[in-house]
């Protein structure tokens, strides 16, 4: 903690130095602006397929990944743009992927739901709900066998936690004390299904008890709180004590995918959660403790917007794949 901070700061916030918190805020802005720009491009017909936006969930992606080390891994979901950016992905290469360009992370072949950047520690998003969970167990086994001291963090939704794969993965990871951190982003709905109709327990984190691991139920829109708990879970995983389950309670402001009619929730509910905007909350708290002034905060946001605008420009100008390369990366038929 630096000396000139105001007293009465929460220990979770005080634990993050100015550079770290500025980086976290920048990443949250980048995620928000990235998704807004992706949405605008989609609406103009520039992006094919569908996409799942995580606007409103930024603190969960950024907070959990903040304490990861450079060589650690993440596994992401169909709602994974935030995870990629939080892990340091370059928005311009992500846009290139969305626009189906040769320069994209997967040479334009994967699109929104299949961004992977193995060198960058992102082992890939997955269109299969819960698909990353068993993979995380495999990654955990590999880390353990190689004794390379890494940690694998796997993201999934509340809906995924009702899949068999979730239970099998947690059980096995716990039995073998694998270096995995399970992060459930509970945004209240699996498509249009309210968790109240899909789960017999109140919190996904309550399920940790069944697998003998710590379960943390968090306000997922509180960046500092999420980062503090993630730090503990990551340290536990790295030290060989085994996995943890973190549940970030949060909310997606947008529909499930681009074809959602929002018939299963009220405008009031969406409005209520908009008032808990994780970005504004962090900014307000930083201002209240005199850590950043309004002008500095504004600049962070403007810089992020500029980066995203430039990323879109870059990606649009990139070359399309050449049809003759259709089978270049096909290794099985």
């Amino acid at each position: 903690m630096s000396a000139d901070q105001k007293p009465n700061q929460r220990p979770e916030l005080a634990a993050l130095d100015d550079a770290t918190v500025a980086q976290a805020l920048t990443r949250m802005h980048l995620i928000r602006k990235f998704e807004e720009a992706a949405e605008a491009s989609y609406m103009r017909g520039l992006i094919h397929g569908t996409m799942h936006l995580s606007i409103g969930q930024e603190a969960s992606a950024v907070g959990t990944t903040l304490p990861l080390e450079a060589h650690d891994y993440i596994l992401s979901t169909h709602r994974g743009h935030g995870h990629c950016i939080a892990r340091g992905a370059e928005p311009r290469l992500m846009f290139a992927e969305f626009f189906g360009k040769e320069t994209g992370y997967c040479k334009g072949r994967g699109g929104s739901m299949h961004i992977a950047d193995v060198e960058g520690g992102n082992l890939g998003a997955n269109g299969i709900v819960g698909g990353g969970l068993p993979i995380a167990v495999g990654v955990g086994m590999s880390i353990k066998a190689q004794k390379n001291g890494r940690v694998c963090m796997v993201f999934f939704g509340d809906g995924a936690s009702n899949e068999g794969a979730f239970h099998e993965a947690l059980n096995m990871a716990s039995i073998w004390k694998l270096p995995v951190v399970f992060v459930c982003e509970n945004n209240k709905y699996g498509m249009s299904m309210d968790i109240g109709h899909a789960m017999a327990v109140a919190n996904v984190a309550d399920r940790a008890a069944a697998y003998g691991m710590p379960g943390h139920c968090l306000d997922g829109n509180d960046l500092a709180g999420v980062a503090a708990v993630a730090k503990v879970a990551i340290a536990r995983a790295r030290s060989g004590e085994g996995p943890s389950l973190i549940e970030c309670k949060t909310y997606r402001w947008r529909g499930h995918s681009k074809s959602d009619r929002n018939l299963y929730r009220s405008k009031e509910e969406i409005e209520e959660w908009r008032n808990q905007d994780p970005i504004r909350r962090l900014e307000d708290e930083l201002k209240a403790h005199d850590r950043f002034d309004a002008a500095t905060l504004m600049k962070l946001e403007e810089d992020a917007q500029r980066d995203i605008d430039a990323a879109v420009e870059f990606a649009r100008a990139c070359p399309d794949p050449d049809p003759k390369d259709l089978t270049r990366d096909v290794y099985a038929l």
Partner: protein, 411 residues
């Protein structure tokens, strides 16, 4: 610079969309996030929100005309911005015209209702809006009797009966007699449903090699059975079964023995359906819709009569979900009640077959060396030859005849 409002892509395979209703009018103040128009896609009606706060101007897009994704349809002027028409909107307005299917020469004759005539801030049910639109009626002239003054279907209909046709209404109505001059023609863009029907059926005719088998089947026993069932259903409080229900029941029973008729094409494979879901072709406001008797194989006749009645009512009230209107494994189309003798139907893809039923009428037939009159009906099975062969279809027709002529065999 005013903020452009575009026609957004809101669905995966969407290339054009149709504005079904504007919720705002020229010059209205909108807040970011307010619903400004409704857009119809192949699948659903979605609300589109204002991208910014300000005054909405230069509303260009017409209701009911397909517009390409990404086309500007209006502009939002931020507070303090000069409200003159900038050159960009004017230029883009030309794009709108180009993007729509109405060409310049046809434009004056096209009876599309200008967006400016669209009522804003009015509460009206989608059905009321649709009827008003179809009849060129300005909703603002219709009083609503629903909650908080909402205009319902009945309000619009009453209004139409009470009022002599206004000029606008006449313009939007189909010409009663075909006129030699093009000016009397009416160009009506496809509705969302019409577009689905058009696309699916063209695809079916293009890709599925159809062949047709027709059988004349005696309906005496089926008729008797329907009479007895009517009495029994009255006792047990089930709706009176129609001939369509009986045919659906018979088909559901024999389809069990004919898996290839209860099948669909899927790429280069045949999908044999475990469940028998029978679609029944029906008409609603001039549109073809096909509600589905789900798991018809497991239903007895009273259950089927009840489900049929529920679907019919749901269809009329528009309460059926898209899931209830699609995904059958076999389809029946009965036009007998319209006096049609026999016809061939287009397969509802990806299904493999559809049964077309004509009217039941007394015909002279040979029985035991005599010519006698018997109630006869014609059944035509259209099959997709990619997955159904002639003999397989013929065997189905044999069983269909046997079952309808001897319904007790089904027991």
């Amino acid at each position: 610079m005013p903020i452009e409002v575009i026609l957004p892509k809101v669905d995966m395979d969407m290339e054009t969309g149709t504005i079904e209703a504007w919720h705002v009018k020229e010059g209205d103040r909108v807040r970011q996030g307010d619903t400004i128009f409704e857009i119809g896609t192949n699948k659903a009606v979605m609300e589109v929100e204002a991208p910014a706060t300000g005054a909405i101007r230069n509303i260009k897009a017409q209701i009911g005309v397909p517009i390409s994704v990404g086309t500007p349809v209006a502009w939002i002027y931020l507070d303090g911005e000069a409200a003159t028409t900038p050159s960009e909107p004017a230029a883009a307005a030309a794009t709108v015209a180009a993007a729509t299917s109405v060409s310049k020469t046809e434009a004056p004759a096209a009876p599309v209702i200008a967006a400016a005539a669209s009522p804003s801030g009015l509460r009206a049910t989608p059905l009321a809006r649709r009827i008003a639109r179809q009849n060129g009626l300005d909703l603002r002239t219709v009083g609503g009797t629903g909650p908080r003054g909402r205009i319902g279907e009945a309000d619009v209909k009453r209004h139409m009966e009470q009022r002599p046709r206004c000029a606008a209404a006449q313009e939007a109505r189909p010409a009663t007699a075909p006129s030699a001059t093009a000016s009397g023609d009416r160009l009506q863009p496809f509705s969302a449903i019409r577009r689905i029907v058009a696309n699916r059926l063209s695809e079916s005719m293009r890709t599925a090699p159809h062949f047709y088998l027709t059988s004349e089947i005696e309906m005496s026993a089926a008729r008797d059975l329907l009479g007895r069932l009517a009495r029994r259903h009255e006792r047990i409080g089930a709706p009176k079964p129609s001939l369509t229900v009986l045919i659906a029941r018979v088909a559901a029973r024999i389809l069990r023995d004919h898996p290839v008729i209860n099948a669909s094409t899927e790429g280069e494979a045949t999908r044999f359906h475990e469940r028998i879901d029978i679609g029944i072709a029906m008409e609603r406001d001039g549109d073809l819709v096909v509600p589905v008797l789900r798991d018809a194989g497991g239903m007895d006749i009273p259950a089927m009569a009840r489900e049929f009645a529920r679907l019919r009512e749901g269809m009329a009230k528009r309460t059926l979900t898209p899931a209830e209107l699609g995904g059958g494994t076999f389809t029946i189309s009965n036009l007998g009640m319209y006096g049609v003798d026999s016809f061939t139907a287009i397969i509802n893809p990806p299904q493999g077959a559809i049964l077309a039923v004509g009217r039941t009428i007394d015909k002279p037939v040979g029985r035991g060396g005599e010519i006698v009159l018997r109630p006869m009906a014609s059944f035509t099975l259209s099959s997709d030859h990619r997955i159904v062969d002639g003999v397989a279809a013929a065997r189905f027709m044999v069983d269909l005849r046997e079952a309808l002529e001897n319904p007790e065999l089904l027991l």
